[in-house]
Symmetry: D3
Subunit: 340 residues, 6 copies
């Protein structure tokens, strides 16, 4: 059975109920989430053996996060119980023309203060065939970025397939380095990169572009830049997201294997319950699709898009949609008819 390892930070997510503003909230709903963890949950839900590697404080909050992993059937054998605090993010969920707002309180967290050499990656990757990391970990701190690079290098050496979500967060990257100084080196071993083209260019330090996602020709040449740069690269993927409002999104996707561009339909997502983590649901769906039917790339992309769409209907960071629900969407049934 294929095993996927993801690595990153799991945060305590404190969100206001309904669409209350922070200043109206008397309580916060407490859940756990984080980009790479969310990918692991997606995969575990789809029946893949998924393990999440992270560092968490050995206090009640850290242990609650571990319980969440267990409940969700995500492997946690290599979670390091160390460090001072769990990272927190506060979320005010927007609606209509009012945007959601995220307040990060993750500095000095167990993951942000992680240093390389702490994990026995050779052991961790022994049974693994896939390793997923994202641009959030190198955005936390210099030492976290080094610890992430260490994992990447060992995974590469050991022949583990590497996926990366660029995940640019402007409220992070506060420790004195720019993505351009850190990311290119880390991306050189990626076998699949998920990200907007302009984000990818920005992280490479190439002048920002405003790509036309309907123009296949120009997409080809834009993506090819990465294929030239990174010899390990096998796929580039992009989530197409058109925000009509916080409650109304249009979602599609592109997958490029260095030869052919695959495009999905663009679906209406309305109303939105929670869009946080929908990119991770895309990533999780894509990994699943590529593992499950490696030769049917269009299906893998469609699976990723459908998973991403369904995630918008689910509260919390991670996708709880079932394989059956995702497949129903791929087959074109968006009717939401009651099953009884």
């Amino acid at each position: 059975m294929i095993k996927v390892v993801t690595f990153g930070e799991i945060l305590l997510r404190l969100s206001t109920d309904g669409h209350l503003r922070f200043s109206q909230a008397e309580s916060f709903k407490a859940t756990y989430g984080g980009g790479e963890f969310n990918v692991a949950v997606s995969l575990a839900n789809l029946g893949i053996n998924a393990e999440f590697v992270t560092r968490l404080p050995k206090n009640e909050m850290g242990m609650c996060a571990v319980k969440e992993m267990r409940k969700l059937n995500v492997g946690h054998e290599n979670v390091l119980l160390e460090g001072d605090r769990i990272g927190i993010y506060f979320l005010e969920t927007g609606t209509g023309m009012r945007a959601s707002n995220v307040v990060y309180d993750r500095a000095h967290s167990a993951m942000a203060t992680l240093e390389k050499g702490k994990f026995n990656w050779k052991e961790i990757f022994k049974e693994a065939s896939w390793f997923h990391w994202s641009g959030i970990t190198p955005a936390l701190s210099e030492s976290a970025s080094e610890a992430c690079l260490e994992a990447i290098e060992i995974a590469h050496e050991m022949g583990v397939f590497i996926s990366t979500d660029l995940n640019y967060r402007s409220k992070l990257w506060k420790y004195g380095k720019n993505p351009t100084e850190v990311m290119p080196k880390m991306l050189q071993y990626s076998n699949i990169i998920l990200g907007d083209i302009d984000t990818a260019y920005f992280m490479m330090g190439i002048d920002t572009v405003k790509p036309d996602y309907n123009d296949k020709e120009s997409l080809l040449s834009l993506y090819d830049v990465f294929f030239k740069k990174f010899p390990s690269l096998q796929y580039m993927a992009t989530t197409l997201r058109y925000s009509i409002s916080a409650s109304h999104q249009k979602i599609g996707g592109i997958l490029y294997d260095g030869k052919e561009i695959y495009k999905s339909d663009v679906e209406e997502v309305f109303p939105v319950v929670d869009r946080v983590g929908s990119g991770d649901a895309f990533m999780g769906g894509l990994i699943y699709g590529l593992i499950n039917k490696p030769l049917n790339k269009q299906h893998a992309l469609n699976f990723a898009v459908a998973a991403c769409c369904l995630k918008h209907t689910i509260l919390g960071d991670y996708n709880l949609a079932t394989k059956e629900e995702i497949e129903k969407l791929i087959e074109g049934d968006f009717s939401g008819t009651v099953s009884r």
Copy 2:
């Protein structure tokens, strides 16, 4: 004053809050509902003398259901307090492209284990002019279907007008009989049948059709099959439901009196709070309309459609829309302007 008797099962409904998945729920909202009960509530709310006949266990859960009947002004004088358990259904309310999900836990309930001969139907129908039953009761068990047939036959003998909602539920009918073995006999006394044409054909054992509800001619011939088969039949009605998504429905209706086809406009229903029971709201509205203004069939149909639309905005199984709200819609005012 006209009295309507409805007969069926009332269930404890345990639904997740908001749009939480079952696996996210820490609590269930507890209400009561069931197709035929919901029709009785609609009628009681509209000022009709409505009585609900059922069998309920004599425990706290059964008594809570009785309290709900009282609160809603539905007659409960002939509720039989017997049997082991109240039927339960779990509901996860969908949104957008994620469908609602119903998990039934109603086997062995007081209604499912009901046997004929338990109710004094002659007494019950003494003051009644209308009897409503639905295809759910015969789907519960063989003995429940027999008990229902008994009621139908006595109602028919006593000259009570009989309405039926076909209400096909694929998760029921587990006791070894198919609808075709049970329903035709029960439907022969129906004076009005509500149902999709394909459901009706399926229950008659006639090859399924995919009717074109915009083609009056073909509708006529499709409906006429029933008028030929069932000499008591005076009306066929169909709720037109187009599911764009779980949050977005289009609702209309058709009424056929054996001579003329009446059609309503198709209305946009968006967003949907709760679509469970909206068919019962249609049925309740139709009965009310036919009782209230028997000669104005178009108005009866419009009333049914408006009642059905409004039900979608109301949490729970039954329709709490007022006559004034329904009539405002019939007059074309969908503006939802604050009354102050």
Copy 3:
């Protein structure tokens, strides 16, 4: 620093959760609000020195309202702690085609029983440059309308700029006088009037009109009637509201300075969280715009419309949108993208 004084009633608002009907509610969310108070909150949030003058009973409910003022940074130095009860309104929030419903329980409140001569308006207006009142206060009782007129006259004498929201409420005006007997006299000192043209005509006792808000020429002549009647008048403004349903509004605005008609774009507002107080958000935004950039009337109008739109996404009576959020909308960004 410019100081704005608003005068009116603050009510205890008891609203059902979600979209529950009154008959389904087991609890009421308790907040505070009222037209003129909501305007003061808008201004305080935008950094204006805003004071609210009212009369409240010296009991726990009155003191909770004062605490709310303090929390929201609205001046309360001249709140009169007298009278028997705080006014209450019950709110059932509609959705889709089901309208919201307001039940007032505000008779005999401290504000409704206010008599003139109670406030030292000369002192109150000493530092003030703007005074705002609305058509709700004269609708409460004869004595309240006299007390309001007293404030208006002193404000006018002292050269304070006067704004008025016509705010017609058909469920008020129960004390034996019609708006036509009361409002014209009170409006004569208004420097800016906000209201629908037909409401304004109705309050003047002129035959109701159904104005065409797209026909600038006819608007000019309709508005000019007021400029002729009221020599102090400098602006007429109207909120354009098209109710598709309780969940779907289209919002725009018109501002006329006696010379030129300014129109904003009409924006889609969907879904609606809470539309109560959105007119007050418009008024607050307009006052802010006219104070902040007095020469840019188009900007003031756009600010009012954007504030009004955003209010629909916020639960409760008053607008908690920030200046930055409003300005993002003015610049055309309705995407609701997560800030992280």
Copy 4:
């Protein structure tokens, strides 16, 4: 079957959750209650045919109160749907050494503005054998006290047994009359009076006493004053309540039939969930006991005390304890063992 009619006001009760202070509350739990209504609920729960007569506004709040009556199986056929508002009371439930606090907002309610001549008491009392009123109604307004006296006089004429709970509320009696001016005339037809001796003396205008409830001799002479004054009087009863703290009460009772003094044990009630309405539970239990086993006065008293004790464990105004639970207490089983 014996029918009991009770007459008084039903209020909307808005209480804070847990033991939150008013200033901490974001919402109020909404239930309905009132002294005489609570007595009717107690009786209906015990299987007695109980009807509640009151006046309620014909708005949503009034109709919710009627729904509550229906749910609780209390007769409501003679509820008068008139008047402007439902009375409200706000409740902050104390704990330990912090007392509960009640804020009344019941002036101008439908009951407070009731005038005599509105009810057809002859019709109402036709099937009734018992009439219950309390000292709250005459405390509301002069016209309410007159309307109450009218009911008393007709009940007396028709030979209906009359019970009265003195129920002195210092926050009422604001309309210009003292209890001494009103109550003696009303009490002259009472067949049973429930109240503290000092309250009874105070309402009679006799110098207040501090009775020693352990000294039977002095009790005899104190109670006999009333028997001399009121020829109809058959019973005096007193709830013994010792407040150790808001969470800890000791409850007993005394019943005197003009000949013998019956005393119950004094029971520890700890912890207290809600003590509001526990006096009404006593009254309801006493009426039930005297109806059920008229010759066993000690049992009637014990039933009243046990009902009162159990009420303290139940949230809301009225007693939902069952006959079985009450009888278990009378038999001395306070163990609260789980039934499973």
Copy 5:
């Protein structure tokens, strides 16, 4: 590492909030629990490798129970996903002199319809050193009792230590057999039995006794009856529970090893949050104690009593007290001082 296997039913527990009566509840808190599962949770929390064997339907409710097992770190590898429904119990939590009430709805559940031969016990017990079952499983149905006996016999054969909690539930045992016909045969392999002496005698069919738990001599002879009957028996244990009220318990324990009687102090437990499952917490503590320090029987008993006491402070069926908290109690510190 020692592995403990427990076998029984896990139920969906639907409890009212606070101390609401069933008739007041608008929602039910949904958790999972059951005697033998609760023992497994206790052990897992204390660091023991614990596995729970049961049969659950393969629907959403069954899967939620599995998620709960995972979250709580209880092994679930041998859960059989079959059968029609999960058992349910409704719980109304009492307080003071009002008892809690349990309504079972567990007939026809996956466990109640279990037949022997379904589990591969030889495999399951391969790594196990301890097997725990209780008197609930044989109370469900004849086939469940046979399936339990099968497990007992194989455990015995394989030399697994067997513990039994007698757990008599009068609302079960409805399938036509009495405990005396079933239990003696099952108990013959028990190495430790937990139960009241009178329950044990009742299940053996010996005349009920009212043992004096303070009279060591008589206890010896009462317990010895079992040691004579059951050659495998090594320990008898009894939880001493004195119910002052639903909120106030006194808890102690007795352990007898066939030679010596060990008694713990009796501790005051006040106030009680939730007493359901406190017996299972005792059992879990006792197993832990006997595994952890097999020679210190007094300590094992004290550990059981302290665990049982702490369970009363925790909502839900199973004990979440930590080893540190339990040990603090054993050392005599009941002060509940804030740790900060």
Copy 6:
């Protein structure tokens, strides 16, 4: 009017509902509190002009804390909006023999990273007559302790009366210094110190004592050590707290003015809603008493004890008891009788 300035950290308090364990919590109640802030709230509630000086991040969480100050009428003019994060503490409220648990997450907070020289203390103290600080601020970090010392020195110079609560927290003091290295220097200007004698000795670096609070003679000599050491000292005070369990406390107090020892009665506090902040309520009550009736020291002490007792009945960090409630307790009325 006397003005009191308090200085310290205000934290976001995230507490579980009811008595749920952290691992059971799905949400956290969000309030704000902190020792010195709580003292300011107590004083503001009692009518004293109280200002709180602190440093808070300029993000939504910081602004919410400011709103809380405004709502509670605590001066916030000198709050410094700087720094990275607000300190957080997680609270699991114990009950019975289960202790409450506090998890601090306050490292790197705006207050912990405060450096001296940031506040204009000369300006702040201009109108102030009293300055309050506690042992929490020097426990946060070296720079915070220096910033606190700066304030103390300026207060002393300007003749402001200085009060100190020793407030030892073993989970703080993590920055490398012991209280003995920091506190003596800071305490030398204190005019009143509140603390346990053993805590005081421990902070002074004198061998810990186990004082007998009933032995006045020995108390005199124990307290006198401080009077000798600190020439400014006018009062020592100690809260007497006996923890029977988390739900049951006994509270008293001692005040010593260098000449005479004042003792209060020891009161039973049962049940406890929330004991966090009860020491701050004592301090606030004591300051109020000494300001209000400076010559009646026994009354000041009794006021402190009563305030402390009442705090235990109130959820949240700070005391919302009114002056009237406190005085009722001082007069010996603990009955918790409903006011109506």
